[in-house]
């Protein structure tokens, strides 16, 4: 692929990631300031409660685990390689990752079936949701394929892909390792950039407003007029 006349690799692995992150940041911030009202989980459990469980729960636990794995590999690649130096530990990590990937896929399939078949749910499904489902299907399938047919991804991700990601982050892009990768892996990387670029336009923004301060705040919330502070202690 390298030496392509249209600089395809440069466009896909240097221009696209910067563009995607730029769109992600600017649009997310703009939407948060200008269209605050549209930040919502847009839950549809109220309209359908049975299939909801079998779709949403596996999908969320699956994708959160997989994403966390990618982030950990990005942050501490050496430790991952060290962990994988023992074959048994490598198998455990690979199999666990594959199971969570499968869980995500099963959840996504249930979600798609629910969105396509339940009349009430169809009413709250937008075109953007369908685009997103398509992107996720490609992304998860390419990930699962890579896990099965390009073995020990956790190791070569840490050894080859992570340095590339760091080179992007440090504004010194080096795509040497990426251009040599199989096309399915390239698809997975490009798919990720496209999802990041599309992210702020969709319902995915609910992930940006997960409610963490709740865990530390007092139970009761009282708001006073204007800038005046509560004259006395809060309720609890």
């Amino acid at each position: 692929m390298s030496g392509s006349p249209f600089f395809l690799d440069e466009i896909l692995f240097i221009v696209l990631p910067y563009l995607a992150f730029g769109i992600f940041l600017l649009v997310s911030i703009r939407r948060y300031i200008r269209e605050t009202f549209t930040f919502s989980s847009l839950s549809s459990q109220f309209l359908e409660n049975q299939q909801h469980f079998w779709g949403l729960v596996p999908f969320h636990y699956g994708i959160i685990t997989i994403l966390t794995g990618h982030v950990i590999g990005f942050l501490i690649p050496r430790e991952i390689l060290l962990w994988n130096s023992h074959p048994l530990r490598l198998y455990v990590l690979e199999i666990a990752a594959f199971i969570f990937g499968l869980l995500t896929m099963i959840g996504l399939i249930s979600i798609i079936i629910r969105r396509a078949t339940v009349p009430k749910i169809k009413m709250v499904t937008s075109w953007a949701d369908w685009v997103l489902f398509g992107m996720f299907v490609v992304q998860i399938l390419s990930g699962l394929y890579t896990a099965v047919f390009h073995s020990w991804g956790s190791s070569w991700y840490a050894a080859a892909a992570v340095p590339y990601l760091w080179s992007l982050l440090t504004l010194n892009p080096d795509i040497g390792a990426i251009t040599a990768m199989p096309w399915m892996v390239k698809l997975h990387i490009v798919g990720a950039y496209l999802i990041i670029a599309f992210f702020p336009f969709t319902r995915l923004v609910h992930a940006l407003v997960v409610p963490n301060p709740y865990l530390w705040r007092k139970p009761q919330v009282v708001r006073w007029y204007g800038i005046r502070k509560s004259p006395a202690r809060p309720l609890h």
Binding site: T36, F37, S43, H52, K120, P211, A232
Partner: protein, 496 residues
Amino acid sequence: MNVRSQISMVFHLDKCIGCHTCSLACKNIWTDRRGTEYMWWNNVETKPGTGFPTQWEDQEKYRGGWKVVDGKLKLRSTDKRHTVTDIFHNPSQPTMDDYYEPWTYKYDELFNAPEGADQPTARPISMVTGEYINIESGPNWDDDLGGSPVYAENDPNFKGLSHEQRQQLFAIERLVFFYFPRICNHCLNPSCVASCPSGALYKRGEDGIVLIDQKRCRGWRSCIAACPYKKTFYNWSTGKSEKCVLCYPRLETGQAPACFHSCVGRIRYLGVLLYDADRLEEVAKLPDDQLVDGQRSLILNPNDPEVVAAALKNGIHESVVEHAQRSPVYQFVKEWKLALPPHIEFRTLPMLFYVPPMSPVMASKNDDTVESVSENFFHDIEEARVPLQFLANLFGAGHQAKVVYALKKQKAVRMYRRAVTVGDIDLKTAERLLTEAGSSVEEAEAIYRLTSLCTFDDRFVIPPMHREEAIEMIKDPHEHRASTGFGFVQSPERGL
């Protein structure tokens, strides 16, 4: 003492005729938008009945409100741990089936139908999908005991009633029911506020109205599971939760909320109460039988100079204190002890109080003559058609004493007024009755006046809300007046 003010309400159930005017006034103002069609911020239930959403009082099913665990207040199903683990799928979340699928009719079919032998009909269509639907239930499906064997029998308040007592309610010749209008209780210890992961729900410091910040709400729906009265609702179209706002834009301009204003039976009262916020937690943890007294002890006497001084020191406006002194709610709840909180065992300390309803007078039959008066004037309270335990489950956390007290006093006031106006009861007997009920002639006259002769101004003592003070802190009020308007800067529409 940490004095705060709270707009509170009293609903006099003995006067409610179940006309649903309040519900419609509210619906027309607030919930006629897409996604809110199924919501009834104000609804009127027939008791016994299952209510709206169905069996909302059953916390085994919906797991809302607070419970005391090892001397600590805990949310029943929406504490922090559960909010984290249940965030993708909340098992105690009601669904549309627990309320009803809203519908309208295809009226154009009445006009467009081809000529034929049959009358054209307007078939019902779902307001969610637009498809034809078979209507299976609605928000008032069991109104006036409609379908009692299915609905009324499932009333959660039958807990602790014997089989005979239950049957007594349904025997045709003894059939009895009353109406139970409900809005948000604007609780002192709201479980909806405590459960909100986004911190979108809050209690207004100045008047205690509980609101949902539409910009902060992310649709996690903890409040819906947490509210034991099921008075927060999920707008499935915008992905935000909504609730009764006590018509605060009306209150701020000195008008009574729409449901209060339109009440045909004049059952509704609204006024300010001063309460001690420091003792909230302590009271919310009391054993069931002490909760009613505990909540009453939170409510402070607005005529006590010490309370007034503390209120002013806390920034409560003088005019609000003056209105608290004339509050009809204070009289019903604290002075006369006639009004009781609904299901206080949920421990949210609701600030909407109900005067329990009198059952129809039970006549006793001697041979062929019917006697309505016996030596024991209070006999029809203990042997009322609505079993006392049923009312106690609703208004006394299962304990009858407070309900009996309120009913006896109402009965004594009735007898006293009958002695005065009709004269077939001896005035001495009536006065004895008042004493037995813990009342006096003066109090009976006051209760009579506020119950039967009350004008608009007697029922609604709305304090000035002093929005101008709030605005002054941010900008010049004159500039604000010229620049502000109603509505959204950004339209409240669902995002992609």
